[in-house]
Amino acid sequence: MESSDDCILTVSDLSVRIQNQLILDNINFKLKRGTTLAIVGPNGAGKSVLFKALLNLIPYMGKIEWYNKVKIGYVPQNLTAGDMPISVREFLSFKGCSGIKGCLDLVGLNNEAIMDKRLGTLSGGQFQRVLIAWAIIDGPNVLLFDEPTSAVDIDNEEAIYEMLNRLERDSEITVLIISHDIHLIRDYSEDMLALNRKVIFFGKSERIVEPEILKMIYGSEIVLGKHAKGS
């Protein structure tokens, strides 16, 4: 039996309707402090909508309860700076001037020259690390990442997950992460919430490689290949 001190989030009977369409239907789950929860599901399953509800960005029915003054860092999906003339330093300074250097060190960008680079000229991996630095700069205890490695190559993908794992361990941050990569979910998260409008599965992430679980989530037989960098 979990004590309420272990719990950082309780979601009860959560439903979200957008333009008369039921996107999330009666979602219930609890999350322990200091763990990494992977949220999986097919496209259109309501994963990003769940994040928006957790952040109170959209109206919802039911109850979302965060415990003990949580401070949330968030990185949305498909974020782009395009051709905007904005440097990494300026972008990060929007959230406060102190701690920029330390945060860039934490995400593995300890090169001073990167601070004056234009945001739009960074590689996919660098940009994603800057976004993670943005999310952690004001010392959150919960991080929400919506597909943080969708525009990143495999090497950088694994490095970013490793870094998130380190953050979780060293700073006791609770991480909620939307991902499609089954290997990375298994290797870098403890718990998994599979969504397809409703909760399909909630349990240990290691079970994601089981054929019957995969079939429940994606609705068809899936054969796993070997990950290029994974085990």
Binding site: P76, M84, P85, S87
Partner: protein, 261 residues
Amino acid sequence: MMMDVLVPGLLTAISVGLSAGYLGSLMVLKKMSLVGDALSHVALPGLALGILFNFNPFIGAFAVLFGSAAIIWRLERVTKLSFETIVGAIFTLALAIGILIIPQVDLLEALFGNIAAVTYTDAITAIIISAIAIYLTRIVYSKLIMGMISEDLAISAGINIARINLIYLLLVSLTVAAGIKIVGSLLVGFLVVVPAATAKTLSSNLLRYSILSSFFGAVSGTSGVLLSNFTGLPTGPLVVVSGVAVFIAAALIRWATKYSP
């Protein structure tokens, strides 16, 4: 005597050029250049009402711009249509109505501006308005940028996107109204768009971009007023020609130096 015309004209051009350039830097990043241009057209019916009913045309222009900005802000939220679409529908109509109701004798000046009509009172008003517009825009600048990068990101950081967009549109209206006497309602939108476009070709960070945009706005306005004073031609078109010359010069500098922001 000549200085009595030139000095207020120059003061107005510099202050409006600075503020229009600064506010325009956001308009260009928001991909709303056409909005900035078309927004100026809506001032025409306001000017016409001022002339017809014998009150300060600036107040008429500002009132109509202010009202229109609030209406498009609301329509954008309700209909979810883009600003460009709403502006295209509403502001062309405003221009047509303005041309129909403004007395023919005043039409040319209203459309293209005239420095001879600018008084010291106009200049002081323009300086105060520009200072307020720059000051308030500076406060919301980073919030507007965050909203452009990602609305969700900005809202999750506690920023009220709708409110700062409204404040911004109202400040643009104020700046455009202040520039109408010099540049004219048909061309004042130029000052919001082209200096920022010029600055963007030469900038890799926001600070440099916003400063250059303001500077190019002031240079365009000043050159236009000086040329108008010496040639006797309408000020508005000369401001546009000066601004485009600066734009071409910037493009050539970039090409010659292989500058890549």
